[in-house]
Subunit: 240 residues, 2 copies
């Protein structure tokens, strides 16, 4: 049986199988080695995610040994937690201290359930506030962006802090994207969600981090012989 | 637990999570309802597929009721079977009568294993012979295409015949693509594999056939409340 990689997060995860998306690119990259399983929930913050965690990843009975641990889980929350409380998407806001606590609880849940699974945190991306005004998701009477880049940065730093505390790898997307002077146009489609180029950056960072953990296409068993391993003079031999 | 849809086939399936691919588009379409599971094996014909079928889809012990039937399986073989025997990819060739027999056996395997699963056959696509000479996969000393459109058409018709015999739906890709006068440029990338437009045609046909079988996003249970179902004034209510 092939191992799984779960992608757990909000809309940036749920939409990751759209054209050029980072999730689809992972599935393509691991096409013969890993099943990439989508668990993205648009709009969710860590408070709601924590509430439904054991429904998304239900425990199997003790006598059921059919469950194998996934080799990795990406945990990609914070973009919704970072909505400002007094703005038009305030109902998604989670205070910073609670976000840290929730994220710690989510990592602990996975580490307890699957001790050998690599948990990979991803920080929220930076926010283009002007674009957030041009692409509203809900009615915005105040005319102020529901997210700011500064607030997203606080949640991104909190995420990297939690990764350090838990001893798990993290992709600091907020910082990495802003290394590119044209990050707003290059990596974002509506000031929050990822452009195709932003998706490809996430994909490249995820496979780089997985490789650092020893998880690469080269290191994983291939599901059945590759065509290059089949002898044209005796094709059936390899299947015996 | 979410139901699965398995995509079983050759390289046109294995590559279906590439940018704009039909498999990724299915996963995106069913992002909150179904897990789309990739089982594509580049270069494989029905003879090899049949040989490894019970390794790809192993039977669970009788006392293990954790396995749930997938809601659908796409079976997309024939492009390699249709390689001409006396050309440079002849080792992949499977005679037409054996292809029919193998395809019948594959459908029967799924119907026996999972009586309620919808098995959806897809015929091989048409072949652009000139393009096949421009994009060789192996050394081609003869200078003749390893596949012809006429031969692919025989396998496509055999596939639709088997669908009729087995009483399962089929997408006649060979015929459908050739309804477009510009099919060679529009739908194919190298005379055999699919362009992004060809991938989107397969995606649209698959969701149309699944809908005919009663399988649509609207008809399937959603995994956890959608953001639109969460009350901004009492977000936690829906999770109680």
């Amino acid at each position: 049986m092939r191992p799984n990689i779960y992608l757990f997060g909000d809309s940036i995860t749920e939409e990751s199988f759209d054209i050029g998306g980072w999730g689809a690119s992972l599935a393509n990259h691991f096409a013969r080695t890993v099943d990439v399983v989508l668990r993205g929930y648009s709009g969710y913050n860590t408070r709601w995610a924590l509430k439904v965690l054991d429904r998304i990843f239900p425990e199997k009975p003790d006598d059921d040994d059919s469950e194998s641990e996934p080799i990795a889980v990406t945990v990609f929350f914070g973009a919704n937690d970072a909505c400002l409380q007094d703005r038009c998407s305030g109902f998604q806001h989670v205070p910073l201290h609670e976000y840290k606590h929730n994220l710690h609880s989510i990592v602990s849940f996975f580490k307890k359930r699957w001790p050998d699974t690599h948990v990979l945190l991803i920080t929220p991306p930076p926010i283009d506030e002007d674009a957030r005004l041009r692409f509203p998701y809900v009615e915005n009477k105040q005319g102020l962006p529901e997210r700011t880049n500064e607030a997203a940065g606080h949640y991104a730093r909190a995420c990297t802090d939690i990764a350090g505390e838990c001893g798990v790898p993290v992709i600091d997307l907020w910082t990495k994207m802003q290394h590119c002077p044209e990050w707003k146009k290059e990596y974002l489609s509506d000031g929050l969600h990822l452009s195709q180029s932003g998706n490809q950056l996430v994909f490249q960072e995820v496979i780089r981090k997985l490789r650092d953990e020893g998880l690469s296409v080269e290191a994983l068993p291939v599901d059945l012989p590759l065509i290059s391993d089949i002898d044209p003079n005796d094709p059936m031999k390899v299947f015996q």
